[in-house]
Symmetry: C2
Subunit: 599 residues, 2 copies
Amino acid sequence: MKSVQFAYRLLPGLKWLKGYTGQDAVSDLIAGVTVGLTVLPQGLAYATLAGLDPQYGLYSAFVGGIIYALIGSCRQVTIGPTALLALMTSRHTGFGLESGPAYAILLCLISGIVEMLMAVLRLGALVDLISLPVTVGFTSATAVIIGTSQLKGLLGLRGGSGSGFVNTMKSVFLNLDKVRYGDFSLGLAAIVILLLLRKLKDLKLSNANKFVKSFLWIVATGRNALIVLISSVIAYKTCQSSDNCPFILTGKVKSGLPDMQLPKFETDILSSNGTEVHQNYANMLGELGPSMIILPIIAVLGNVAISKAFGGAGLSPTRELVALSLSNICGAFFSSIPVTGSFSRSAVNHASGVRTPIGGFYTSALVLLALGLLAPYFQYIPKASLSAVIISAVIFMIEFEVIKPLWRCSRRELLPGAITFIMSLAIGVEIGLLLGVGTDVAFLVYRVARPVLGVSKLSTTHGISYILIRPKHSSLYFPAIEWVRSGISKSLETHGSAPVILDCSNVHEFDFTAARGMGALNKELSSMNVPLFLLKASKEIIVILKESTNADIHTLDNPDDLESLLEQVPDYEPYLQVMVPLVTKLPNSYTDLEHDKRN
Amino acid sequence: MKSVQFAYRLLPGLKWLKGYTGQDAVSDLIAGVTVGLTVLPQGLAYATLAGLDPQYGLYSAFVGGIIYALIGSCRQVTIGPTALLALMTSRHTGFGLESGPAYAILLCLISGIVEMLMAVLRLGALVDLISLPVTVGFTSATAVIIGTSQLKGLLGLRGGSGSGFVNTMKSVFLNLDKVRYGDFSLGLAAIVILLLLRKLKDLKLSNANKFVKSFLWIVATGRNALIVLISSVIAYKTCQSSDNCPFILTGKVKSGLPDMQLPKFETDILSSNGTEVHQNYANMLGELGPSMIILPIIAVLGNVAISKAFGGAGLSPTRELVALSLSNICGAFFSSIPVTGSFSRSAVNHASGVRTPIGGFYTSALVLLALGLLAPYFQYIPKASLSAVIISAVIFMIEFEVIKPLWRCSRRELLPGAITFIMSLAIGVEIGLLLGVGTDVAFLVYRVARPVLGVSKLSTTHGISYILIRPKHSSLYFPAIEWVRSGISKSLETHGSAPVILDCSNVHEFDFTAARGMGALNKELSSMNVPLFLLKASKEIIVILKESTNADIHTLDNPDDLESLLEQVPDYEPYLQVMVPLVTKLPNSYTDLEHDKRN
């Protein structure tokens, strides 16, 4: 029994086999094959998007399924090539010679290693720093960039997909006279049909029989494979007979499985003046640069989003991270480009009724079969139809719906989203993402640095007036202390000289710099003969204050103790002279105090 | 009268002239001359530290005094060259030909412009981001770097001061056999005397007469000028008669005032292979790079620290910033290197009994006089004595005292300080400062992202159990929501299934991402038949929740309302079956709940 438990711990996926019924197997088989039919055209298309030969998309599509079946915990997740990661990979594949695959595969390996480090160091939480507006801005920008990068294929324009949104658009407009109408009409027709077929699923056919319903569902789900199949048949028929082929075709796809081999740590590139330049390990890492960090974070973000959408909070984030990491590390030995969970294919998997992650096995088997048997036929796939597949997939990644509620309830959150979107288009997705997160972080720091202070002039039951300062925040850290100091100075100008009580009852976080600032404030107020008291300061605050300053700052637990404290200091006696004894009470909550106008 | 008020607003310094008595003038004259006697040797030394000819230190020492007298508001502040800014400038002055002064003066102009922008955009508050441990780490590292950079001068080793701590140390150790004992003994003697003279002020001479006391005070305050004067006389005597001069001398200092001219926007440098390379405006800005931002921030930090130390919180930070900015902008037209408030000279000013910022006029006058008349004599100043002046000034910038209290009360704050110190020495002061601030900011974000949750199982007065979750923080922003979600999941595992009440009474800050997460949590808990309620949620929270999610999250104002709310939902009826009615009360404050172990 012990060895079985050990095996379970090592490969948690084995537990799915316990009580695996024939019915489970059939469900998983159907779902796995359906996902496979989606990943075949997508893989070919995404590899081209990444700037590589189409077969690399298929090389990337089978390792993840097997690894995830063994280690993953969410039955719907399918790991493989995605448009986003392909786009990010494409930055490093344009240096000519054999360097494209070398860079892509090395990036895959490094992503896997970085993901493993993130799992070990528990850094998966870094994705928490990416807020919803930034996510929306990022995915929308990515969708726009991917969409425009496919315009060339759709219009039958030759040449690479260009780098970046601006360059691609410029290149398309400059070459509009070279549009090939064969490709363009095929691509446009394919997009229209794909979008219509997508709607098929939502069709309410209450009185149709079960067979028709199933048929419609299969057509809708397998629409990518269907369109690619039909357009290939058309291309095969028209292009075999005449030299004048109206479509640009995918071209030879290398047949057979990829060799299992170590990723290459050196390669040759073509320099700008056409000479071959050798790149060693360090050169390659230098070229990959920040992608080595940002790509894994984006991969993890995608994967987390999917497993959260389908699996709820019950999943172990670490296990998911390890599964993703191993998919990339092992994938790199089979010439894979960076992979992560695909939202669209996971949705297909879910809709196809998958029961366990073993479905991924069947997907992988289908991809391997295609590599072995179908590869020769892939050369007839028109590029325009692959572009259509990509465009009709990414078009739904552009999210405008979130803008309206944000505008209505929290406008300032539009800023990080807009910065991410615009900068991603203008400069690049990595820079856009970093700037968006930077904007969000700057706001968080701003809030810590500028706590709202509730200021009110009150009197004790003995009628002694005092100024009560209540920070609305639970922290009083170094960036805030100068603000608090000047706030107190201002309140003295407004309310006149009176003992100042700083309410620390809700201040749980404090640091050395803040304590020093408080000491300086105390000194300053003393020189103006204004006593300063801390109300309900926690032990931590008092310890830090004592260590950091020599100043003796008085504390009290109840404003009514003010009188006896003031009596002890001769300088402060004037404050004890009260004209009319007043009875006022401490406000019960923050909301009683001056309202925060910034919210 | 109107024109007078306008003049006051334009030049607030004019107000000092109102009622300016003869006594004020005498006090300001004495203080101004004393500061002048300090800035003369310091200016010569700091210019050398910056990698320039000595006269540039004097060019930098007179504009600030005049500008600050007109605009500044703190009588003690004296603006001029400082060791820190000289060190930061020295990074850009080592490219040969006439490029050194060109870079330094351009940096001065740009610093002034950036400071003006900081004043206009109210970015002066950026210095709030520099915590005390980082400040200490930074100034200590700077002191060490400046100190070691003077070792060469002190030991009589020829050659530039080298770049960075590591290189300088290496170069000194490799050249130990070339130490010139004349310079070394002079320098060492000068340091010892300077440190002793510094102590002179603290001497308690209760029974000495007033004249002796004043004499000692003058000697102690003017010690730098005195040492430089004496060592120059010695050098003059020994070096004029023989060719075998035992000291390396400062060499010719250009006599006369600097020309008033536009800073140069182009220059020539020597490339590494010895050819002249022309640098245009863009090249020069590229070389200055991040210094254009970091140097002004450091300058402002220094200035703020001084005006705070002497002027209290009553000063207008914007006015100070404008004064500093104009000192640099105008200075750049008189060949000044970047300037800021000097702590040591401001202290001298204070101790000399300055009454108004007009004292700065007298300092400037003395510097101009020295440029006109004394410059020919400056060439006899031994470099070793200038090094001694610098070393005995910066040695007190190394602060170890802060480590002990930090260790005792807030150890985690040692980290940003240590990172700043080590990285400043190892890589450079700008990088060190940025990494230190980055560490502090990362901690702030970490605290926002990981709020402490107080979890307790309680019962209403009707005996219905519920789980109360109380965030100890006042904010619930996007980085925290996943953490809260998993915290609630865990508390359900620990305490068993029960209605969950999230206490929002102290949550004042909330955002869209957090609201979406809350919606997802609500959905997830619903699917587990666990009801979720928000206790005392503010209007803002409810509005954002409504806009961001379709989910209907229940709110309540008192846990005792739980019963009636549960009755409305049939699914939740099981929670109403209570065995024994219990009476427990809500805890009154956070401290009643599970104690935060992280503090």
